[in-house]
């Protein structure tokens, strides 16, 4: 055992240290890339700011047998607090997830309390009876070693990570605070970032009102997975179903989006997503793209003055990804041109409502997160002021561009502002706020 342990550990570290090399071969256009601006015309002879929406749209998978196999690791919290209905629902949900997988998919199950146990080692999801038998035996006990649980889940995942045909996904379900091992949101965030580099996405499902939503969303965010909040354990089967629906539709993995601004255009910031701005290039990494779904990045840029009626190429976007179905490397690219006009009316009338809507959603999410930070610092009144301001701003956007969804968002922000002006957020409100804002920043479809 010692020897195998040592070699295994050594191998793990070496593989990771040597990094990944990918075969370079062109593939069919699985992913298309588009750039839109918040308005189609820019004012001439003025330095101005505008927002680019760089969207990636993956083509929908048509037939079921074409779907890439999934390597799903379910990491289940079975600490004492999960006792009763929660663990039963979670077991039910895990079995439901298992049923949705096909014989080519891999399923593994890791349980953790104060220690970690791999109950179902990675194997074909067709061993339904045996796996179900293992799942039924689960009972709740002990403490919450969340970090070790996810680590073990990643280790089970890694056994089949070399085989690039699998779509790797860890599904973490917890109802509690991590209280054994590293348990700060930053620590789990770093783990998520490391897993992202391996192409593993961690989807987190928080149950009840006791779990640490910051920790869970950070883990999801840094590994580009989804985040769910189930106030009630009865929602678990639905969430697992939704998540599986997404995972089964993954068509592109390890997506790197690079936007190069040309003609003196300067990227200022990325709205709502993490990414790197280096000179005039912006790099954004996404983990997995679902078929038929759009993921986008909003980049605010500064456009230098140009003369009227001039048409300029302001940005080139290129995207690299691994095709999840053929395991080939794919590429997509596009560029954006913009026309300048002196007609102010035409400029303001040339808005792109959809981009404005997306910007509004992302700024609302950012405002929500700022409000959570203020709320945590005990400044809930200040948070209310901020939210109210954002709400007013959104209301104006909604009115200007005739966007009823944004109006609704403004109302929601206003309602939250009302709550915050009188008291601090309740656990459940904070959780739903945190999860919602992450979901909209992540353009998560299933909620």
């Amino acid at each position: 055992m010692k020897l195998s342990l040592r070699t295994c550990l050594g191998a793990l570290l070496l593989v990771a240290a040597s990094g990944c090399t990918a075969p370079a071969r062109a593939a069919t256009d699985r992913v298309t890339c588009t750039i839109e601006l918040d308005r189609n015309l820019l004012a001439a002879e003025a330095v101005q700011r505008t927002v680019m929406k760089v969207a990636l749209r993956a083509s929908a998978v048509t037939t079921t047998d074409e779907r890439p196999p999934v390597n799903l690791v379910v990491v289940l919290d079975r600490s004492g607090s999960m006792g009763g209905d929660k663990i039963e629902r979670a077991k039910e949900a895990a079995m439901e997830a298992l049923h949705r997988l096909g014989p080519k998919d891999l399923f593994s199950l890791v349980l953790y309390d104060h220690e970690v146990e791999t109950v179902v080692p990675p194997q074909s999801a067709s061993n339904v009876e045996w796996i179900e038998g293992r799942i039924r035996k689960i009972q709740s006990r002990g403490n919450t070693a969340l970090f070790a649980g996810v680590s073990q889940g990643a280790a089970e995942m890694r056994k089949n990570l070399e085989n690039r045909k699998y779509v790797p996904r860890i599904l973490l379900l917890s109802d509690g605070q991590a209280n054994v091992g590293p348990s700060a949101p930053e620590d789990l965030g770093r783990l998520g970032a490391a897993l992202m580099k391996e192409g593993v996405a961690v989807t987190t499902v928080g149950v009840g009102t006791d779990y640490n939503e910051d920790l869970m969303t950070r883990l999801s965010q840094n590994s580009d997975g989804n985040a769910y909040f189930a106030a009630n354990s009865a929602e678990l089967p639905r969430i697992f179903n939704a998540e599986l629906g997404g995972v089964l539709k993954v068509v592109a993995r390890q997506v790197v989006l690079e936007i190069t601004c040309t003609s003196g255009v300067k990227p200022l910031r990325i709205i709502g997503r993490e990414g790197r701005i280096h000179g005039n290039t912006v790099e954004i990494t996404l983990n997995q793209l679902y078929g038929g779904q759009e993921k986008y990045a909003l980049i605010e840029v500064e456009v230098p003055a140009a003369s009227a009626n001039e048409e300029r190429k302001i940005a080139v976007a290129s995207c690299r990804y691994a095709d999840a179905i053929t395991q080939d490397d794919g590429k997509a690219s596009t560029h954006a041109t913009v026309r300048f006009s002196r007609d102010e009316k035409a400029v303001s009338g040339s808005f792109n409502a959809m981009v404005q809507r997306d910007i509004a959603f992302n700024t609302a999410a950012i405002a929500n997160e700022a409000a959570i930070s203020l709320n945590d610092a005990g400044k809930n009144a200040l948070a209310a002021v901020h939210l109210r301001e954002e709400s007013e701003r959104l209301r104006k956007v909604a009115k200007d561009y005739k966007l009823p969804e944004v109006e609704q968002q403004a109302d929601e922000l206003n309602a939250k502002a009302k709550v915050l002006s009188s008291r601090a957020l309740h656990a459940e409100e904070r959780k739903s706020m945190r999860t919602d804002s992450y979901q909209s920043r992540n353009q998560q479809q299933e909620k």
């Binding site: 010692k2 342990l5 295994c8 550990l9 793990l12 220690e115 970090f147 770093r190 580099k197 790197r276």
Partner: protein, 545 residues
């Protein structure tokens, strides 16, 4: 004599047993300590094995990282600037890369072109280092000295890298190393290489990812009652395994430092020395067995001693008894012989004197008969051979008859006998001879001991299917100290050969046995007017037993 036996007992049995007990106790304690030590040793061994695996894995990882870093040394600066961030972005175990120009200006992360929040955090974390306010080589503390041996591995890899690349450029790596860095409580590991031209570059390890991989290589279980935990410099638990949850309060069995690979990190095995419960049970069992052994030796010794003591007492009682009986037998025999000699020699001249002599001889032989009857009955009773022939009696008549027969002796002793209730019929169902013998023994006792009271009162009564014959004297009574053992065989209030009254201590014992065997009893009660009162009780009718 008893004292001598006791002291012998103490000397021969108690002292060796106590010594043996002490030795056994010491041995047991020693054994327990040995077991605990063995458990701790096993725990330490396991922890050491895990620690070794961690060291080897981390060393291998560090060597590999250093190899990749030194391999890049000959690259032009621009290429290095392109490769390092790309490497950091794809390797999950690398958190961040950095590149410092010859003048220690930070080329990467590139502050001029915008920083991510992660970049800012990185720069802030290593601000002191990059500003040159902290040396790149850690000071030569004890850990660093210990580290130097492992770090040889690194310098070897450095040399091999030099050989392999051939270094056609001038930019040979002149120095390289690993720097443990603390930001708050968190350990960060930084690998750096300095080229001949002064350019310094390196990477920061993604500690969380490293930890995540290290802990999955932990054994999945620890021995029962134990936990194995990985602690950081602040003794915060990074990971623990074992059925028992790791707690700082648990007794530590082994603490193994993970320096130099992971300075200040420790691997701690804690718990109760292995399968503590099983071992505790074994210890308890052994202790109980030892205690049983010692107790049985002591108990057996005590029983033997008690037995010996009883034997000694019995032997003495028998000697006294034989002496008493001989004395008892000798007195009437002497009298009979004397009077018989007088008659034979014709010394008694007149008829009256002869008649008196003959009466004395008859009386004394009666006394002898009673004595011998008592002895025989005692023998029979002891052997359980005594046969009774119960019949319906009238106790009044019987009492009258016996008292009349003893009238002369009683009068001779100076006792005035008064009878009460002897004229009314008082039925009883008993062996006539046994009752007579019992009553005679009581009367004998009255003659012997209560003659000073001058009076003897007998009362016959019936109540509750029982017949009672109460014999009360006005003598001195039975001293309180002897009342409890009054009916014990061979017991006499004055148990010396020089006692004023002859006797062998059988009378009351026998009487009680005789009456009890027939369903009756003999009881003693001090009389209200002083003196003794004996009550003979017999069943009124045949008992269906």
């Amino acid at each position: 004599m008893r004292r001598r036996t006791t002291s012998q007992f103490i000397l021969l049995l108690l002292v060796p047993t106590l010594v043996m007990g002490l030795v056994l106790g010491r041995l047991l304690l020693h054994e327990r300590e040995r077991l605990t030590r063995a458990g701790a040793l096993a725990a330490e061994e396991q922890a050491r094995a895990v620690a070794n695996q961690i060291q080897v894995a981390v060393d291998g990882f560090e060597t590999e990282i250093m190899r990749q870093l030194t391999e890049r040394a000959p690259l032009p600066l621009a290429e290095l600037l392109a490769q390092l961030p790309a490497w950091a972005q794809t390797d999950p175990l690398i958190r961040h890369a950095f590149l410092l120009a010859t003048d220690a200006r930070v080329l990467w992360p590139d502050a001029t072109n915008g920083l991510t929040s992660e970049d800012r955090a990185f720069l802030q974390r290593f601000e002191l280092l990059f500003a040159g306010r902290t040396p790149w080589e850690p000071p030569a503390t004890d850990t660093a000295v210990a580290a130097s041996s492992t770090r040889q591995l690194m310098s070897q890899s450095l040399r091999s890298a030099k050989r392999k690349v051939g270094f056609s450029y001038d930019q040979n790596p002149t120095a390289c190393g690993w720097l443990p860095w603390y930001e708050g409580r968190n350990l960060h590991l930084l690998a750096w290489v300095q080229r001949a031209d002064g350019v310094r570059y390196g990477i920061e390890v993604e500690m969380t990812a490293l930890l995540a991989r290290l802990i999955t290589a932990f054994p999945t279980s620890a021995p029962a009652g134990q936990a194995l935990a990985l602690l950081d410099g602040q003794h915060a638990i990074l990971h623990s395994v074992g059925a028992t949850e790791f707690q700082p309060a648990l007794p530590k069995l082994a603490t193994i430092s993970l320096a130099p690979a992971l300075p200040h990190w420790q691997l701690v095995a804690a718990g109760t020395g292995g399968a503590a419960s099983a071992r505790g049970l074994l210890f308890l069992l052994s202790a109980i067995l030892c205690a049983i052994l010692l107790l049985s030796i002591l108990g057996g010794g005590w029983l033997l001693l008690r037995d010996a003591h009883h034997h000694a007492i019995e032997a003495r009682t028998r000697t006294t008894f034989v002496a008493n009986v001989s004395h008892e037998l000798k007195t009437p025999l002497t009298t009979i012989r004397m009077y018989a000699d007088l008659l034979r020699e014709g010394r008694a001249k007149d008829e009256a004197r002869r008649t008196r002599y003959l009466e004395v001889i008859a009386q004394e032989s009666q006394r002898l008969t009673r004595l011998i009857n008592n002895m025989l009955d005692f023998g029979r009773l002891e052997e359980g051979r005594k046969a009774y022939h119960p019949e319906a009696l009238d106790l009044g008549t019987e009492t009258n008859r016996i008292v009349a027969a003893q009238c002369d002796r009683l009068q001779a002793a100076g006792l005035a006998v008064s009878c009460e209730g002897t004229d009314t019929p008082c039925p009883a169902y008993a062996d006539r001879d046994a009752f007579e013998q019992a009553l005679l023994n009581i009367l004998d006792n009255a003659i012997k001991y209560a003659a000073t009271g001058k009076q003897l009162h007998l009362r016959v009564s019936a109540s509750d299917h029982r017949a009672h014959v109460q014999v009360c004297d006005r003598g001195p009574g039975v001293p309180a100290a002897h009342q409890a053992r009054l009916f014990q065989q061979f017991h006499r209030a004055d148990d010396t050969l020089t006692a004023r009254q002859p006797g062998c201590g059988l009378g009351l014992h026998l009487s009680r046995r005789l009456l009890r065997d027939q369903g009756g009893d003999l009881r003693y009660a001090p009389a209200a007017s002083g003196g003794a009162c004996f009550v003979l009780i017999l069943p009124a009718e045949a008992q269906t037993l």
